[in-house]
């Protein structure tokens, strides 16, 4: 895991994980444990917040997708959305994963936030890289803290389905339906995100960083260099267009190749699902679809034609960013989290004209409307301990409501930047950490318990915010809900190898790097279906998920 994760890259990183990849196992057999009707009865109402107005408002797309609202500057108003202090003086502990330096305990930032919250919330951030080994020791000893963050990609490792109701508190009586309106900031979190923390038709989790626009990633390009050649992203409307562009851009003599690896982000253009689809009521795996091999064939031809950078073909990805920044590669795939302030700073340091752009989603044949599968609304969900009494749960939900105050509000500023004049000062409209701020304020502690829906904000790099927001708006209509969307599925361990399909994925990689033919991947798929557990996996998914819970759409 990369050491520095900001909110956007976090969402995108996790979204890039295929639906089932994280489902390693679980002692008991569990499945998508929510039924459609049962879940609808308990999901909280959604009441969007209007207290802080974004510079670029959200645009709604199909299937409940919506772009993230964007802010060109940090809101100056600092609206207060919570009246009084939410807490009544209770004492609690909270554990969250942290990819960064752990701030000293009892520092002035923690104290200031606790004072504002009206509780003593002892934050115990744990090393994010070892988090998957830390939590099971706590659950085995039944000694979870009062409040804990359990990222969804570890649902299987932590056996969250089994913990729900035994060690994690059922929040349904407090949040179901209109009850959530008692907590207006929590009510402003879209419904889909609450689904990621629902187990057995009951609400358990409190979602952070939810977004209505979660996709596996995009095919990026060097907008500055392409536009200098008179090429705009809109000219690419089919796979053939992209291949021709590859030919035009590649200039091996000058050490410039058109493409880095794009497979993971481009194959959906052939109408290939991330993993599963249902056709005529029957489950079908992407490996069984002819269009999967058409997509592979395109990538194979692209590599054979010499448009793929040789280092990418050699699997050397450590310096992929450097290739893109230095203009040795002009088209590259990646999570949308790459499109941020840090990227802009690194890029312009290498080339002052640097500007990242992304191609609009297109259908490979150029005629069908483009379709891209939505990822889960969030991957960051916190839970309360089942030992807490109902009034303690109410107190912590009031605290969560404070933490979920909208971007730019007085509460958000406190939680993310601390006290003005002590932990940060405003410089050119950008909250800038002071010495104390750098030491004590880890923006990724409290928001892992609860946070408002994601926004696009890159203070100091307006162009990034504008470009990314415009791209989201142009593409939001292409998003669709894939089968099993936002369903919590835990595969039994005996099927984890079949789900990972390592032998097939190896063959796929060899193929899109131009080394082996598509027919060899087809052979690997046949072996996987019979000997590698592919057929067993499909049968299990049919019996335990599709037939019992439906597609979840």
């Amino acid at each position: 895991m990369r050491p520095e994760l900001n909110r956007r890259s976090f969402v995108a990183l996790a979204a890039a994980t295929p639906l089932l990849a994280a489902c390693g196992g679980g002692a008991r057999q569990k499945a998508g444990t929510n039924t459609g009707a049962g879940l609808r009865a308990v999901l909280p109402s959604y009441v969007p917040s209007g207290s802080v107005r974004p510079d670029i408002p959200s645009v709604a797309g199909g299937a409940g997708a919506a772009t993230d609202p964007a802010f060109l500057a940090y809101p100056s108003g600092r609206v207060a959305t919570v009246h009084g202090t939410p807490g009544r003086g209770g004492s609690y502990t909270a554990v969250t994963p942290l990819w960064g330096t752990v701030p000293p305990a009892g520092n002035s930032f923690y104290e200031a936030v606790n004072k504002a919250l009206g509780v003593t919330l002892t934050m115990k951030p744990a090393d994010g890289n070892n988090y998957n080994t830390i939590v099971p020791t706590m659950t085995a000893a039944r000694r979870l803290p009062d409040w804990i963050q359990l990222p969804t990609w570890w649902n299987a490792v932590f056996d969250v389905g089994g913990l729900a109701g035994t060690q994690l508190a059922d929040l349904t009586p407090h949040l179901a339906g209109d009850k959530i309106k008692k907590y207006p900031n929590l009510a402003a979190i879209p419904t889909g995100a609450w689904q990621t923390g629902a187990w057995g038709d009951r609400l358990y989790g409190i979602p952070s960083f939810s977004s209505g626009f979660v996709v596996a990633g995009a095919v990026f390009h060097r907008r500055d260099i392409l536009e200098a050649k008179g090429i705009t992203a809109g000219q690419v409307r089919s796979a053939d267009d992209l291949m021709n562009l590859g030919k035009e851009l590649t200039d091996a003599r000058r050490g410039v190749w058109a493409f880095d690896d794009v497979w993971t982000y481009l194959f959906p253009a052939w109408n290939v699902p991330l993993t599963w689809d249902v056709q005529d009521g029957r489950l079908i795996h992407k490996y069984e679809m002819p269009q999967f091999f058409e997509a592979l064939d395109w990538h194979h031809r692209m590599a054979r034609a010499g448009y793929l950078h040789p280092d990418a073909a050699a699997g050397q990805n450590a310096n992929a960013d450097a290739r893109f920044y230095s203009g040795k590669v002009l088209i590259s795939g990646g999570g949308t989290g790459a499109w941020n302030l840090t990227d802009h700073q690194s890029g312009t340091a290498a080339d002052k004209d640097y500007r990242r752009g992304a191609f609009d989603f297109f259908a490979a044949d150029g005629t069908r409307p483009p379709r891209v599968a939505m990822g889960p609304s969030t991957n960051v969900v916190s839970y309360l301990n089942s030992r807490l009494k109902p009034d303690q749960i109410e107190e912590l939900l009031a605290v969560a409501d404070y933490l979920a105050a909208p971007f730019g509000s007085a509460e958000y500023t406190m939680v993310n930047f601390g006290v003005e004049g002590v932990h940060f000062t405003m410089e050119d409209g950008v909250p800038t950490a002071t010495e104390d701020g750098r030491k004590f304020v880890q923006a990724m502690t409290f928001p892992f318990l609860a946070s408002p829906p994601a926004v696009i904000s890159n203070p100091g790099a307006e162009v990034v915010t504008r470009d990314y927001a415009a791209w989201q708006a142009a593409n939001v209509r292409a998003l669709y809900k894939p089968v099993f969307w936002n369903m919590n599925i835990s595969l039994p361990r005996s099927l984890s190898a079949a789900s990972a399909a390592q032998a097939v994925e190896d063959a796929v990689k060899d193929c899109y790097h131009g080394r082996t033919k598509v027919s060899e991947v087809q052979a690997a798929v046949s072996t996987w279906k019979t000997g590698g557990g592919g057929d067993r996996l499909k049968q299990w998914m049919t019996d335990n998920v599709l037939d019992r819970y439906g597609t979840g759409r």
């Binding site: 196992g25 040789p310 050699a314 699997g315 450590a318 190898a497 390592q502 060899d510 790097h513 082996t516």
Partner: protein
Amino acid sequence: MSASHTRQERPGLRIRLRRDRSLLIMVVPAAVLLLVFNYAPLFGLLTAFQYYDPPAGVWNSEWAGFEQFRRLFADPLFWGALRNTLYLSLVQLVLFFPIPIALALLLNSVLGVRVRNFVQSVVYLPHFFSWVLVITIFQQMLGGAGALNQFLRSHDLQTWDITTNPGTFVLLVTSQVVWKEAGWGIVVFLAALSAMNPGLYEAAAVDGAGPFRRMWHITLPGLRGVIVLMLVLRLGGALSVGFEQFLIQRDAVGHETAEVLDTYAFYYGIATGDYSLGAAAGLFKSVISLLLIWGANRIAHSFGEDGLYRR
């Protein structure tokens, strides 16, 4: 120690404990290290006979008997990995093993101390580089977009596919090993050379032996014990050709060429959550390695060499 001394009666345990007290205390940290990191993890081998499930733990996982081994031996990818491992190991034995010996002899013949120290430092250095760095250097020099191929391209010459050619992969990885480890490998041989009795050389020189005869009749026989020891150890490690080196370059030539037992255990065991299969592959490797090292040691003994220990 004189012969009469050894024939003396052996002192009792308590006396020996008291006598060797300080030596024993010095051994304790190493022994603890060995116990904690080498012996205690042996307990984990149990997982090779289970359907191991981390949340359930080793005690509560379901027993599988030899099912994981049956799966392992039925997997053609496993046999491919074993074949690659043995092939790479054999080629490295032939092409890599003699180089540190030759280098040590060469360095030993250099009389200027400063030149010798300088050369020694330079050839040592790559040992301390990580594999990521070594492979990046090779990629920057010889890769498809590396210095060599960009030079060829700019002169309209045919480019040379070195880093992604499965056919020559074995030579590529062996040359990487030579570049990285040959300098480090000479340490043991240089130590053995420095222990050689200079009187033998002087006597031979007086008897009219030239440099080659001195090497053939004095140096090499003097090194024989060490060479055999290193060879036995090398055979014991024949199934451990390296992990990172192949992990990093696996995508460059494809898994069919670069998969070795260690990367197999990683990809098909750890990375896919199929820990028991990975443990089975690891246990298989350990058992074969043990047999190899035992066999090599037996052969060394039958040739009158010390091998790993004196009989």
